[in-house]
């Protein structure tokens, strides 16, 4: 179990949230080449260390938010700014 620090609801069991995965800047669909778009869709950094990622608090505030987590130790850092919509999934 992970204790995920939701910016609105405080620490929550990760089972209460949906994991959104790595957060990357979304290319502009109007100008992106198919190659850029598919890289954004599929390719991942998958580091063993600090990772910027998105979570959805599905049984609490029902908002997407961005966090940093160390994927080797599962500690969280840098509580996000409330209302931060970056990296949310469509």
């Amino acid at each position: 179990m992970l204790l995920v620090p939701c910016p609105n609801c405080g620490p929550r069991n990760s089972a209460d949230l949906r994991y959104g995965g790595e957060s990357h800047a979304r290319p502009d669909p109007a100008t992106a080449t198919p190659q850029q778009w598919r890289s954004y869709l599929y390719l991942r950094d998958n580091p063993a260390g600090w990772l910027r990622e998105t979570w959805y608090c599905r049984s609490g505030c029902r908002r997407w938010f961005t966090l940093e987590r160390n994927t080797a130790t599962n500690e969280f850092r840098q509580p996000p700014i409330p209302g931060d919509k970056r990296g949310g999934k469509a």
């Binding site: 790595e22 390719l43 991942r44 998958n46």
Partner: protein, 436 residues
């Protein structure tokens, strides 16, 4: 030790009942089944990862193509990753024609493995039941059965009556929350002793001159001519590997590192469509054999088999959160027990002996990533997610062919890294995973 090593060079010992009796009576030591050698400065090929995939690749390089100047390097011991942590199930009842042809070849290689490698891998073709608890699952089972039949793989959909004849311990009544409506029955599926497969490949490869280097961690992959920093990245080529025991020069590096595949590929400047998730499994105390087949339920996220020792082995879906940590969780055990008891209420008093987890390299389409990359001489055999063990022999065979000929073999062409750029995914989620 060196004396034993020299004797092993001259005459590889055959495993047989007569040899067992002879050595047992004489009280001899068995010779070590692979050598510990010094790391050379140069090899024709370096395989990173000493699991079944890496060892099979090295074995087939030596056996089918005569390339024996090969080093297999692993940061821990052979079979320390997913090769020793999987639930040892083999089957070929996949969903896509590409997947079925590929895994069917693997199953055939598993069938002849004991003779090929002269080691008892305890291959047990005990049959494989994939349960359907709703109409859409039943539809997928019918779909899989038809694709399988077309490819010459033995699969059929059966109803609850037949299921209870094959596996009477399953609750096939209409009482459970998710009653069993039918199942995809796949008689050639079964289980194999996974450690023996690792040792068999290592031993056979060693006899042909391949070197296994344990506790040798790869720190960097040396490239030149690429677009990125230090000559890495697309357009470049591999010139060597930096390990914790010194630099090796080599023109070919094969990445067979499963959960760590992304980290190794990043060393060559190649990005992969892979995230690393842990998968937890558990085993019960041993009891008399009562479960004759492998039982899988996608809806309940569980697969069950009974080992020859009598322990029930349980596997599940991967954990939802990507991480390199392999800590187990109580939620897993609770959920697993609930789901298993839904299927087999009769085992409620059994005790779990232990639980463990391994790392899975998950791809978006639940198919592997195999073959060449934009970096010349850097090949990948990764993205094996939750289905790597059953594919090890054929992956080794095909990867060895790719290394030796410089061309992608037809059987693995659909699994190339370039399919993601082209948008031609091979969707196997309906047959490869239980978590959907």
């Amino acid at each position: 030790m060196t004396g034993i090593g020299r004797r092993l060079r001259r005459r590889p010992p055959r495993y047989s009942a007569a040899a067992l009796a002879w050595r047992g009576l004489r009280g001899d030591y068995w010779p070590r089944i692979w050598r510990d050698t010094e790391l050379k400065r140069s090899y024709d090929a370096v395989v990173i990862g000493g699991g079944v995939h890496g060892l099979a690749t090295a074995y087939y390089l030596a056996r089918n193509h005569g390339i024996t100047d090969v080093a297999v390097v692993d940061k821990a011991y052979l079979g320390s990753g997913a090769s020793g942590r999987n639930t040892a199930i083999v089957r070929a009842n996949y969903l896509t024609p590409e997947g079925v042809a590929f895994y069917d070849r693997s199953l055939k290689l598993y069938n002849s493995m004991a003779l090929d490698l002269n080691i008892n891998v305890m291959m047990s073709e005990r049959g494989h039941l994939t349960l359907a608890h709703n109409d859409s699952s039943l539809r997928t089972m019918n779909w899989r059965a038809e694709v399988n039949k077309l490819q010459g793989v033995d699969s059929c959909v059966i109803g609850p009556d037949e299921i209870s004849k094959i596996a009477p311990s399953l609750d096939t009544s209409s009482h459970p929350r998710y009653p069993i409506l039918g199942a995809l029955y796949h008689p050639p599926g079964g289980i194999v002793r996974h450690d023996a497969v690792v040792w068999g490949y290592a031993r056979a490869a060693d006899h042909m001159g391949v070197e296994m280097h344990q506790k040798t961690e790869v720190l960097d992959i040396l490239c030149e001519g690429g677009d990125g920093p230090d000559g890495k990245g697309p357009g470049g080529k591999v010139v060597g590997v930096r390990t914790s025991r010194g630099d090796i020069s080599t023109p070919v590096v094969v990445n067979c590192t499963a959960g760590w595949a992304g980290l190794i590929s990043a060393m060559a400047g190649v990005r992969l469509p892979i995230t690393t998730h842990p998968l937890q499994a558990a085993v019960t105390e041993p009891v008399k054999v009562f479960l004759p087949t492998v039982v899988v339920s996608g809806s309940l996220h569980v697969y069950i088999s009974q080992t020859d020792r009598g322990e029930l082995v349980f596997g599940a879906a991967v954990d939802a959160v990507a991480t390199y940590s392999i800590r187990g969780s109580l939620e897993f055990t609770e959920e697993l027990a609930g789901h298993v008891l839904e299927l087999m209420p009769g085992i409620s008093r059994m005790r779990l002996l232990r639980q463990w987890s391994g790392l899975c390299d998950m791809t978006p389409d639940y198919s592997p990533v195999m073959g060449f990359t934009p970096v010349d001489g850097f090949l990948v055999d990764v993205g094996w997610g939750t289905y790597g063990f059953k594919a090890a022999p054929v992956s080794g065979e095909q990867m060895a062919e790719a290394v030796a000929t410089g061309r992608t073999p037809e059987l693995i062409a659909p699994f190339a890294l370039s399919r993601f750029e082209a948008g031609e995914l091979v969707g196997e989620k309906g047959a490869a995973a239980v978590g959907h």
